[in-house]
């Protein structure tokens, strides 16, 4: 499977580096290695969700209890979680680190992924949620650190969009 193991490891290490010890997730192809790494790490609590909105609540609870967390999801998972993001994170001013695999952009071969990707950034912007793309391996650690810093200082959700160039290696 041409999902980048090396770059998934970079993202995972960066996430741990900013103090994340609890991750909630639903899988999608680009997330398989990240979720496996969380599952295999005895220092990480992995919560397998039924639907992404739950993860917003779980992260809020973890924050209340003094634990840093992150959500792993895809574009449609983010879109599914909107009510929780608005009704918990934004309303109550709770930090939330969202890692969103950004499907549906240039190079997308799956027709069913092409709509969700189109709406992710406009929705993030409409909610005034700070976001950035993770595209180059060198940027992963510093951008993750800055994202977490802003989430904690602004008590807000932030989003990192994991791009195709980072997560996917085209078979040669």
């Amino acid at each position: 499977m041409p999902v980048s193991v090396a770059n998934s490891q970079l993202v995972y290490d960066a996430m741990k580096g900013v103090g994340v010890t609890l991750v909630s997730a639903l899988p999608e192809t680009w997330l398989v290695h990240l979720i496996r790494m969380a599952d295999e790490d005895p220092d990480m609590t992995l919560v397998r969700l039924a639907k992404e909105e739950e993860g917003v609540g779980i992260s809020a609870g973890a924050h209340f209890a003094g634990v840093k967390s992150a959500m792993l999801m895809q574009n449609h998972g983010f879109l599914q979680a909107i009510n929780g993001i608005v009704g918990v994170s934004l309303l109550y001013k709770i930090p939330l680190l969202m890692l969103i695999t950004d499907r549906g952009g240039f190079g997308e071969k799956d027709p069913w992924q092409t709509e969700g990707g189109k709406h992710t950034r406009p929705v993030l912007d409409a909610l005034h949620i700070a976001h950035d793309d993770l595209t180059r391996p060198d940027d992963v650690q510093p951008t993750m650190a800055k994202a977490m810093t802003l989430a904690q200082s602004s008590l807000s959700p932030v989003a990192l969009l994991l791009n195709r160039d980072l997560m996917w290696e085209e078979p040669r």
């Binding site: 609590t45 739950e54 609540g57 779980i58 609870g61 209890a65 009704g87 309303l91 001013k93």
Partner: protein
């Protein structure tokens, strides 16, 4: 059975717990018994109270977490029951007040008239759903004595449990809550910074006065 009487029965037990309630009547009635910093009232995002409780329970396994939910909210996040069940936090008690109506979002009216009922009014069994989702323990109670016994057992017990309490669709006496959402949001994590005490050291609740003395041994031993 009235929601407020159930809340009165467990109120003294909630001292060291992390308590997460849903919005509306449940929040207002718990507040009316005396606000504490370890109570968090989720005033929106129906369905997510149990998810917040799960996050706390996983982050602080040494603290008892009590989620006080309602049928309308639970029905908005049935998948959350499966996530709770598979995570199986030993320190979480899920209380669900089931009045078979969306009372607090306009589905109820004074006098108990229900014009927007939930599916529990037509037979949906939330305790059955919780059991089928994988909760090790889930039961429905209809009498105050049974609620109190089940709730105290769950609070003292060491496994994930769910109690569905069938209650009247009665409005609270007042919805007034003199604690702002954000004040509550900031005091709550501060309260959770205090280490919980041993539950055995906590005093037992004052029993609600009854006309007939109880003969249930489990309850008798609590009174002694």
């Amino acid at each position: 059975m009235k929601r407020i009487d159930c809340l009165k029965a467990i109120y003294p037990e909630l001292e060291d717990c992390a308590v997460v309630t849903i919005m509306g009547a449940v929040a207002a009635e718990l507040y009316s018994l005396g606000h504490r910093a370890n109570f968090f009232y989720l005033e929106h995002a129906m369905g997510l109270a149990s998810s917040i409780g799960l996050g706390i329970a996983l982050a602080q396994p040494g603290r008892k977490v009590v989620v006080i939910d309602g049928d309308g909210s639970v029905l908005m996040n049935l998948g959350g029951l499966t996530t709770l069940a598979r995570s199986r936090p030993k320190n979480l008690v899920h209380l669900i007040f089931d009045n078979e109506t969306l009372l607090s979002v306009g589905g109820g009216a004074p006098g108990g008239y229900k014009w927007f009922t939930t599916a529990t009014s037509t037979g949906t069994d939330l305790a059955g759903i919780a059991r089928a989702a994988g909760f090790p323990k889930a039961q429905t109670v209809r009498e105050l004595d049974d609620f109190e016994e089940a709730a105290l057992d769950a609070l003292d017990g060491g496994e994930l449990s769910c109690i569905v309490a069938k209650v009247e669709a009665e409005m609270p006496k007042s919805f007034l809550m003199d604690v702002h959402m954000l004040e509550n949001r900031f005091e709550f994590p501060r309260a959770l910074q205090q280490p919980p005490r041993d539950r055995a050291a906590l005093r037992r609740p004052t029993r609600i006065a009854k006309e007939q003395p109880t003969t249930i041994p489990a309850l008798k031993s609590r009174e002694e």
